[in-house]
């Protein structure tokens, strides 16, 4: 940036003493060191010039407005920083969620909550791992405790609490996590803080009194959290340094027998619980065929707002912002173009299959597998094929 001439400053620099009181100036050249620096807009514009030939073009970046400089390394290629806690003052033990159907996101939520408990102090998050578990460094574990047991029990956790400087133990409020958390609290003789919704600075809050009141308290030793509240990717990776456990100190009590899983009936399920949803929009007119297809696929039935408004499906089957927000694994959308409110309702679905006549609809953009066809023609073809497959199996 060049300095533009500042006439007033130059004149002030040439001023000399006068006896008469009138201003006097020297004509000798003086250095304009004291003059105010002023921006030269022409020079600034020249600096922004992108190409000199043809029509002049100017970029947006200037010395005054440097803008965002594009990073030559893409954010994905850049490795996330690894947090290293060399000598922690205390440990926060995160117990991964091992309930049937629990996802990695639930375990991640437990670790995220454990990090909240370490925030602002020199603590380390330690994950209790079982043989065959994945690497916990990527999800933010500072330490990993490998138990020499096949299954974690409350007794083994309470022994770890005696051996290591563990300040808190965090569980997920899921079927198995809730059970283990209550057993651990009873075993250690401490109060359980169950189903924590918010954690900050050693305080946590949860719903109580039938959900009408919110209770806030200092965090005790054993905490269970609502996993869906603490979901989200780990900000930093951890080093996942293993901690050795003395097998002699871990008793070998036999845990209760593993339960036997029974099959579920999808039609009796509420939509928020369903794993696989067959959903209809205005592109569906044959409702008997639609319901037959739902039975054959073993899917729960749902629909868009339009369909429920028209009375083709009951109101509790409506999917979207004003209906049910679903968390299914797979969503098969027949004749749905995808209003924003409907797409909000399926934002947590893992796999989306869409059948629609409009190639440019929002649902087709969202879908993992899109079929540009009339849903009314695809429904009988699907029924036909599923029936044939079933017949072959019998």
């Amino acid at each position: 940036m060049s300095v533009r001439r500042d006439p007033r400053g130059e004149r002030d620099a040439r001023k000399i003493e006068s006896r008469s009181g009138l201003p006097r100036f020297t004509i000798a050249p003086v250095e304009a060191g004291t003059s105010r620096r002023r921006i030269d807009p022409r020079a600034a514009r020249d600096a922004r010039r992108v190409s000199s030939h043809g029509r002049p073009r100017f970029g947006l970046v200037t010395a005054l407005n440097p803008g965002k400089i594009a990073d030559p390394v893409s954010s994905e290629a850049r490795a996330r920083p690894i947090r290293i806690v060399e000598t922690p003052d205390f440990l926060v033990l995160a117990v991964p969620d091992r309930s049937f159907g629990a996802s990695d996101a639930d375990t991640q939520a437990v670790i995220n909550a454990a990090h909240r408990l370490c925030a602002g102090s020199n603590g380390a998050v330690c994950v209790l791992s079982e043989p065959g578990d994945p690497d916990y460094g990527a999800v933010g574990a500072d330490r990993v405790l490998q138990l020499p047991l096949e299954r974690t029990t409350a007794a083994s956790i309470s022994r770890l609490i005696d051996q290591f400087p563990i300040r808190h133990v965090v569980f997920a409020e899921s079927p198995e996590g809730a059970d283990l958390a209550r057993q651990t609290a009873a075993r250690t003789g401490t109060r359980l803080f169950a189903a924590a919704e918010r954690i900050s600075e050693g305080q946590a809050s949860r719903r109580c009194d039938g959900g009408k009141m919110e209770l806030t308290a200092e965090l005790p030793l054993v905490v269970s959290i609502l996993p869906h509240i603490f979901r989200g990717e780990a900000k930093e990776a951890g080093e996942a340094r293993p901690i050795t456990v003395d097998p002699a100190l871990q008793g070998a009590e036999t845990p209760l027998a593993r339960p036997r899983l029974l099959e579920a009936d999808p039609s009796a399920l509420s939509l928020s619980e369903a794993e696989f949803i067959l959903s209809a929009g205005d592109g569906v007119t044959d409702w008997e065929g639609f319901s037959t297809l739902g039975d054959l696929l073993g899917a729960a039935l749902g629909g868009s707002r339009n369909v429920c408004d028209a009375g083709h499906l009951p109101r509790d089957r409506q999917i979207g912002a004003s209906g049910t927000i679903v968390t299914a694994k797979c969503y098969l959308a027949l004749g749905i173009s995808g209003a924003p409110q409907h797409l909000q309702g399926i934002s947590d679905v893992q796999h989306v299959v869409a059948v629609n006549t409009d190639l440019h609809s929002a649902m087709i953009k969202r879908a993992d597998l899109s079929i540009i066809a009339d849903a009314q023609e695809v429904i009988p073809a699907l029924i036909d094929r599923l029936k044939r497959e079933e017949g072959r199996d019998d």
Binding site: Q183, A194, G210, A264, L369, L386
Partner: protein, 256 residues
């Protein structure tokens, strides 16, 4: 005849706020009363013997209800442990959690720890065997699981259990509430907590930030894998869909 003890708590209607049976405890009582073969059912409540909510349980067919007389602000757990030790039941029934108060669902576990019983949560059905019981539990996503338990067992009943029977007004009047004196332990945890009305938060994850950010988050579409078939034959489309669903493990496997 096996002995079943049921832990009853007072409930409150979520809208009117009137005292009533706790819903989960009523389900637990129903499960205890409909055990086959029938069991000797005893019931206990720790709290105010004059609570009108307790009459509802008597209306379901209980003849006696033992109430361990405890004023508000006292810990019911030591009294309940003492009572369970004295009665020595084979099965203890309770709801998953209380409807009023802290409602953390820990009381059955504290009793189990003191009496050496095992606990099963989310129970929806029980089947009595010779020396134990089969327990059916509810899991998320509509799944069910079955476990075998030995006596003594503590069962916490889930909301998905079969509905409770109707209450008879005459039985509710006839039933007897037996009040017992009990040791009084003051509650230590709850006085140190702060309570305020719960403010619901949206189920949608709306980010904070400018109006533009929020609008974008509400309307933005996460792009899928974008495999697009344009105007396929219906049969080809059906084949592709079934292949995709099978590959993702969604379709039930063909029967063997």
């Amino acid at each position: 005849m096996i002995k079943a003890l049921i832990l009853l708590s007072a409930g409150r209607h979520p809208v009117s706020g009137r005292a009533r049976c706790a819903r989960l405890d009523a389900l637990a009582l129903e499960m205890a009363l409909s055990l086959a073969p029938p069991a000797q059912v005893m019931a206990v409540h720790a709290g105010d013997p004059g609570n009108p909510a307790l009459r509802g349980y008597l209306g379901m067919g209980l003849t006696h209800l033992t109430v361990l007389d405890l004023p508000e602000g006292h810990d019911p757990v030591p009294s309940l442990i003492e009572h369970v030790r004295a009665e020595a039941p084979d099965i203890v029934f309770a709801g998953n959690q209380a409807e009023i108060g802290e409602g953390s669902g820990t009381v059955p576990y504290l009793i189990a720890e003191a009496t050496g019983a095992s606990v099963a949560r989310d129970v929806i059905a029980v089947e009595l065997l010779k020396d134990g019981l089969h327990v059916r539990q509810a899991l998320p996503k509509g799944l069910r699981q079955e476990t075998a338990r030995a006596f003594p067992a503590i069962l916490c009943v889930a909301p998905q259990a079969p509905p409770a029977r109707q209450q008879s007004f005459a039985r509710a009047r006839e039933g007897e509430i037996v009040t017992r004196e009990t040791a009084q332990t003051p509650e230590r945890f709850l006085p140190g907590c702060t309570l305020r009305p719960y403010k619901p938060r949206s189920a949608l994850n709306i980010p904070s930030g400018s109006a533009m950010d929020r609008l974008r988050a509400a309307t933005e579409v996460r792009a899928g894998e974008e495999r697009v078939l344009i105007d396929p034959q219906p049969d080809k489309a059906a084949e592709e869909i079934i292949q995709y669903l099978t590959a993702k493990g969604v379709l039930r496997k063909p029967r063997q």
